[in-house]
């Protein structure tokens, strides 16, 4: 069984860390970062051409991390593949015994490093979950029988700080209907947003993992406030970063404290740490969070 699923079932506070595949074929740094958190997280969550930029694939990277003894979470978006390719990728994950799958619609091609590429979106996040659920039932989306049935533990994403938030909750319900059992949130930096969201979703049958993006500077926080949809960094955190001598260390501290507070208040069932290019800092965040 998936370690992640098991952790949720046991009522443990589950932790996953995001790992981006390299742009190229040198996996040295990625493997080092992964090894450093082995045994401390329930899963390493591998992005699928994140921000629509070209990288090695999520599946290949998951496989490499699996060889290192880590449990991967395969991210898969609807942007680059049609339903045949998506189901093929999911079956391939099944062959490798990769159970955790995070279904995403995906950033648009125009925001990435190949802006002229054709966006596919044959399936959205809901469609990917439906496809994976069908495969788990021993059939493809068209109802054709499979030789051997894969097992998945399905997840999806949600943006708690969204106006109107009801629209996110409606979609979340569809994702659950389609098979999602856990959700990762967009990065959250304030407890109030999580409290509201927990209240809104308390009757939904799915686990919630708070998304954590450690801040590296006050500038980064301001940039995210102005440019990244669904993200709100409170002023007091920006001030803390401004005043700090070592901004990166302060960002790690903020992230760790936040995870701890969320856990203590029972606002989420786990945390998903997205270090975005600073994966080497994940152990320090875990230390800070007491995990």
């Amino acid at each position: 069984m998936s370690l992640l699923k098991e952790a949720f079932e046991k009522g443990e506070f589950a932790v996953t860390a995001e790992m981006a595949p390299p742009k190229g074929i040198d996996f040295t740094h990625l493997i080092e970062c992964a090894k450093a958190i082995k045994g401390r997280v329930h899963g390493v969550n591998v992005t699928d051409f994140q921000s629509a930029t070209l990288k090695a694939t999520s599946l290949a990277t998951c496989r490499i991390l699996q060889e290192q003894g880590l449990e991967p979470v395969l991210q898969i978006t609807g942007r680059d593949r049609n339903r045949i390719a998506i189901q093929g990728e999911l079956l391939s994950a099944g062959v490798f015994g990769i159970e955790n799958v995070l279904a995403l619609t995906g950033d648009h091609t125009t925001v990435g490093d190949h802006p002229g590429a054709m966006p596919v979106y044959d399936l959205d996040s809901v469609g990917i979950l439906q496809a994976a659920s069908a495969l788990m039932g021993g059939k493809d989306m068209s109802g054709n029988e499979l030789a051997g049935t894969p097992k998945y533990f399905l997840g999806a994403c949600v943006t708690p700080r969204y106006d109107p938030v009801e629209l996110q909750v409606l979609k979340m319900k569809k994702k659950i209907k389609a098979g999602a059992r856990f959700f990762q949130t967009q990065a959250v930096y304030d407890m109030e947003t999580l409290r509201n969201f927990r209240e809104l979703t308390k009757n939904l049958d799915a686990k919630l993992m708070v998304g954590i993006v450690p801040l590296k500077s006050a500038g980064m926080a301001k940039y995210m406030n102005n440019n990244v949809p669904g993200i709100f960094v409170p002023d007091e955190l920006i001030e803390r970063l401004k005043a700090a001598e070592d901004k990166v260390k302060e960002g790690i501290k903020i992230a760790g404290e936040f995870i701890k507070a969320v856990r203590e208040e029972g606002l989420c069932d786990g945390a998903h740490i997205m270090a975005i290019g600073a994966e080497e800092n994940v152990p320090a965040i875990l230390d800070e969070a007491g995990l």
Binding site: D124, T159, Y162, K171
Partner: protein, 223 residues
């Protein structure tokens, strides 16, 4: 309406690099409304081509360029000019240009780029509204098309990417179609529509080229 824009003139000149004598054809309907294929634009094209050493043997505003029988009739009046010309420039939409190409024995070059099926908001302002997907979703969306107006063409609600002021992260000047749909459905008291999982689109129904013959679909038709 079919919304078109003018092609860069340099691109048209490149098409015409080996042509000396040309005929210009416009269209009385959409291209005229879009101000890319009416009489002023045809005359402007004539002037610019002449300034670039081309000889314009004739011109006509087709009424409209997308009606095969009508174009065939209209082109009879230009028979002499077309027999002497090296090329035709079409200031119609892509449809009109294809009709013209079908009915002429010399190259027919597009002078416009066909942009979308849209609504005339007011003079000179057009909004893209329909992608002709062949499977209209407007019945449950409050009359707002997510296939056209959501950058990702999503059918199951928004991605997480709307900005604080409800704009699309892909095209910041556009409203998020899903927030608009949500607001419209809320007004109509039909938010339940958003709880239904919409199955992935069936692209098999829209394999191009499509053809419709009313004689096939309507047995009372007297066509």
């Amino acid at each position: 309406m079919v919304i078109s824009e003018k092609k860069p003139f340099e691109e048209i000149l490149e098409y015409l690099k080996d042509a000396k004598k040309v005929v210009i054809l416009g269209c009385s309907l959409c291209a005229t409304v879009c101000r890319v294929g009416g009489e002023p634009e045809v005359l402007e094209m004539k002037k610019k081509l002449e300034e670039n050493g081309k000889q314009v043997l004739g011109y006509k505003i087709l009424d409209p360029a997308c009606n095969y029988m009508q174009v065939r009739k209209d082109l009879k009046g230009l028979k002499q000019e077309l027999s002497e010309a090296d090329a035709v420039i079409s200031l119609a939409c892509g449809d009109g240009t294809q009709t013209i190409a079908k009915l002429t024995d010399i190259p027919a070059y597009p002078g416009n780029n066909t942009m979308f099926i849209g609504e005339v908001e007011r003079v000179g302002q057009y909004e893209e509204v329909c992608l002709a997907c062949g499977n209209c979703q407007l019945g449950w969306t409050g009359g707002i098309c997510p296939v056209t107006k959501c950058s990702k063409g999503l059918l199951n609600g928004p991605c997480g990417g709307a900005t604080k002021d409800g704009k699309c992260e892909v095209k910041p000047e556009h409203d998020c179609a899903w927030i608009q749909i949500y607001e419209k459905l809320k007004k109509l008291n039909k938010l339940d529509n958003l709880e239904v999982i919409r199955e992935p689109r069936n692209y098999a129904i829209n394999v191009h080229p499509n053809r419709i013959d009313l004689k096939d679909v309507c047995n009372k038709c007297t066509l």
